[in-house]
């Protein structure tokens, strides 16, 4: 399996770095982050549809989105403020998930041109504490366990 996305999270630190190289010009990589209809497409998944609530692409502008399931229940919503907005280069923003124990995090997104057709995204995320970072890192792991457990329950309840 190809490992294009790299996650670096050192022990005892309250930050992490996500790095990814894209077969895309940096203009298109950036566009995917700032055009609501494009952002909605790549942030939606089989369990829910993502809807951008606001996306004011400028310094001190605010942003927000929510993900709803097929029945219209809000599964997840997040929002924050842009602190720096340099087209095709840099976005600095706060990121806060609504209704979760996670405190606001600070994100530095750097968009870098490699060649005319390739680019790199560097996401540096700073958390309030080491514990919060570790908890967030473990979420998809825990969710995976939960899902396996639910699936098991589904199967078991059908057997009965």
């Amino acid at each position: 399996m190809e490992r294009k996305t790299k996650v670096t999270a050192e022990d005892g630190k309250h930050d992490l770095v996500i790095t990814r190289e894209f077969d895309l010009p940096v203009e298109l990589l950036f566009k995917a982050h700032v055009e609501p209809e494009l952002f909605e497409q790549w942030m939606s998944h089989e369990y829910g549809t993502t809807k951008v609530l606001q996306l004011e692409n400028k310094k001190h502008g605010s942003w927000g989105f929510e993900t709803v399931d097929a029945k219209g229940n809000v599964l997840y919503s997040a929002g924050g403020v842009f602190h720096e907005f340099v087209p095709e280069q840099k976005i600095t923003r706060t990121f806060e998930s609504a209704n979760t124990p996670f405190d606001v995090q600070l994100e530095f997104l750097e968009f870098e041109k490699i060649t005319d057709d390739t680019s790199r995204l560097n996401m540096h995320i700073v958390f309030k504490s080491v514990a919060l970072r570790d908890q967030l890192l473990k979420m998809p792991f825990a969710a995976g366990l939960n899902m396996a457990h639910n699936r098991l329950q589904e199967v078991v309840s059908k057997v009965k």
Binding site: R3, K6, V7, W42, M43
Partner: protein
């Protein structure tokens, strides 16, 4: 579940991480491992004991000596811990790439 937590406590210590890196390159005796550290021999022994208990290291008796090996399977399990998080972002970014490759500017 308890064991799992212990594994992460085991690798939280910088000396133990250094021991794992060292033994990962080649299997070694306790004496050879200790020779790489300024730490007192009993301290290194204690670290080796913890790493063995957490199954990150395996012992093999060779005559009068014990040789330490890395337990590759256990090490992979540790690496797998953040793998679902990485996978989540990888899937997301794969999707972004696919969408933008098909993207045609409106004008």
């Amino acid at each position: 579940m308890n064991l799992r937590r212990d594994v992460f406590q085991a690798i939280a210590d910088p000396t133990r991480r250094a021991v794992l890196l060292l033994v990962a390159t080649q299997a070694m005796t306790a004496g050879a491992i200790a020779a790489n550290f300024d730490t007192a021999r009993p301290t290194v022994s204690k670290h080796l004991q913890i790493l063995t208990e957490c199954e990150l290291l395996e012992q093999e008796q060779n005559g009068r000596e014990i040789i330490y090996h890395i337990n590759a399977k256990k090490m992979k399990e540790v690496a797998d811990f953040i793998e679902p998080f990485r996978k989540l972002w990888d899937d997301r970014f794969n999707k972004l790439e696919d969408i933008m490759k098909k993207y045609k500017p409106k004008k």
